[in-house]
């Protein structure tokens, strides 16, 4: 019966499919993501901000360390944003060019966010997937360790680390990276528990695929959707944390700067009629965070359409 129909089916299939290439779930998700206007626009804005932070320095008249002695101390009168003076975003109270400072702050803040999130994602995914897949006692112990680490107040540890070991970006990374993978590992573990009982995992086991291959080939690719969503939402969280630490004066040290540090300086001098010192970094900060959140939302909708 099957053999008899085969030729007919073959003819039909040749008429219908030109290439025979399938539409993977990723391709589907990409199409849905593009249809989401807020997310697509956010993606472009974010890309614009990132490319600005790389291209911007070529248009700068002043470097971020250079001090304009004219503007020093009289930023309110001389250091306002203007094209002629070369201070496109104005100067800060010490006469440094805010345009260059914002670019530098953008670079550092985004770097902290992205690197911090990647550390969290890699460590969290592997830890969570291992714990969920192995199950039993191993899972219990691994998750209790996460519980214990989670019960330690995050900011407190971070501030202590920075005070005890000195303030540096490296320390900031370690502090943030150390603690931000915890949520990730929990989410991934939950998903893994769900996946592990699917029949395709069982099929792989019966075939004799090793545990490591099962985790990397079958479990992790099926987790990537949720991981991607969580990662895009984690980046702004880490940027916020870094900014908060810098706002407290513990984060990035001079002459480097970050959005948080710039906002702190700007807010300190707001009463001297130099509102641009606050508004420029704040605008970059707020717009970027909005973009990350919109992209995260868009990814979530695109990757699991059932949830909508």
């Amino acid at each position: 019966m099957i053999v008899a129909n085969k030729k007919k089916i073959k003819d039909m299939a040749e008429n219908f499919s030109e290439s025979g290439a399938g539409r993977s779930l990723w391709k589907d998700a990409r199409i849905r993501f593009i249809q989401n206007k807020a997310a697509t626009i956010s993606l472009f804005v974010l890309l614009a901000i990132v490319s600005f932070s790389f291209i911007g320095p070529y248009f700068a008249v002043w470097s971020y360390e250079q001090i304009d002695w004219n503007a020093m101390g009289s930023a309110a009168r001389v250091g306002m944003p203007s094209i002629e003076s070369g201070h496109y975003f104005g100067t800060d109270d010490l006469g440094r060019d805010l345009y260059s400072r914002v670019i530098q702050g953008t670079q550092i803040s985004l770097m902290v966010g992205v690197l911090g999130a990647s550390v969290a994602v890699i460590v969290g995914t592997l830890y969570g997937a291992t714990s969920g897949y192995l199950g039993g006692k191993t899972d219990q112990i691994m998750m209790r360790i996460v519980d214990i680490l989670m019960s330690i107040p995050y900011m407190f540890v971070l501030i202590l680390l920075l005070v005890v070991f000195g303030r540096s970006i490296g320390m900031l990374f370690i502090g943030i990276g150390l603690l931000s993978w915890l949520d990730m590992s929990r989410i991934v573990r939950g998903q893994t528990l769900n996946l592990k009982n699917k029949e395709f995992i069982e099929a792989a086991k019966v075939t004799g695929v090793s545990d490591f291959k099962i985790i990397t080939r079958h479990i992790v690719p099926n987790l990537l959707g949720i991981v991607a969503v969580y990662a895009t939402l984690l980046v702004p969280g880490i940027i916020l944390a870094e900014s908060f630490i810098s706002f407290l004066g513990l984060g990035v040290q001079e002459p480097s700067t970050s959005w948080g540090a710039l906002i702190k300086e700007g807010s300190g001098t707001i009463s001297y009629d130099t509102e641009w010192q606050l508004l420029f970094p704040l605008a970059f900060f707020v717009v970027s965070l909005f973009c990350f959140y919109f992209i995260g939302d868009g990814l979530r909708d695109a990757l699991d359409p059932k949830e909508r």
Binding site: R23, A204, P221
Partner: protein, 328 residues
Amino acid sequence: MSDQAILQVENLKVNFDVSAEGDMPWTKPKKLQAVNDISFTLNAGETLGIVGESGCGKSTLARAIVKMVPAESGKVLWLGNNLLSLSDSETRQYRKQIQMIFQDPLASLNPRMNIGEIIAEPLRTHYPKTSESDVKSRVSDVMNKVGLLDNLVNRYPHEFSGGQCQRIGIARALILKPKLIICDEPVSALDVSIQAQVVNLLMDIQQEMELALIFIAHDLSVVKHISTKIMVLYLGNMVELANSNEIYQNPSHPYTQALISAVPIPDPNIEKNKELILIEGDLPSPINPPSGCVFRTRCHKAKEICSKEKPNFIESSTSHSVACHFHD
């Protein structure tokens, strides 16, 4: 060839530990007897059908054979070697000879992999040195064999219907040319016309490749069509084991009789006058099985002896065994 026993299962027992909710960690968990003392022999090229209601241990038995669940005691002899005593790395050698097909066709395929990758996975696992072009030709061979077009290799599981997905599952099981395929309710999730196609496909392939099959189902008419031998399970125990025709014409155990009387006959006149044996009540809990004969609580023939003595699994006639004190 067909008289050679490839799989012998001897007194296989599988227990699960069940701990009630709110139990303390040190409370001893209760034992659930999922599979109790099962023995059978399967020859090359034969099909063993396993039937029974939900929760009677059909799938657990299948999984115990392939070591997906640990067995409590007993032996699984594959061509004379006891699989249960082998280490994990030694078992890997046998994995390519025993494959499995699952109930939910879509769930048994990884949604992120395309069909070509899915079907080639067993090949790549056991023969990692196979060249790309060899893999490709093997995949397209096996796809043709199960009635799939080989230009579909780049598609993804969600683009296929249930029947097609099941064919993909079968193709994956066939690529290593195994000697035994365990089919865990392969057609329960498909509609009737597709069921027939898949069952016929399995039978065609079986003849072509001299495969042995273990075919689990809860639909007796499907099992009758494909099986050479049928085993009836009840609450993890073997109730009856006989040749397929024998069990239909001559069911000895009251449970089997009741099951067979429930199979609808596609002739209204016969169907109307047929005597139905109804089984009352529910399946007892396997944590606390009835004493003596496990079926006595629902059996219309039950007498006092049934609660005291567990009936032996005895051969009532040639190649027909039954576990009942009052078998016909």
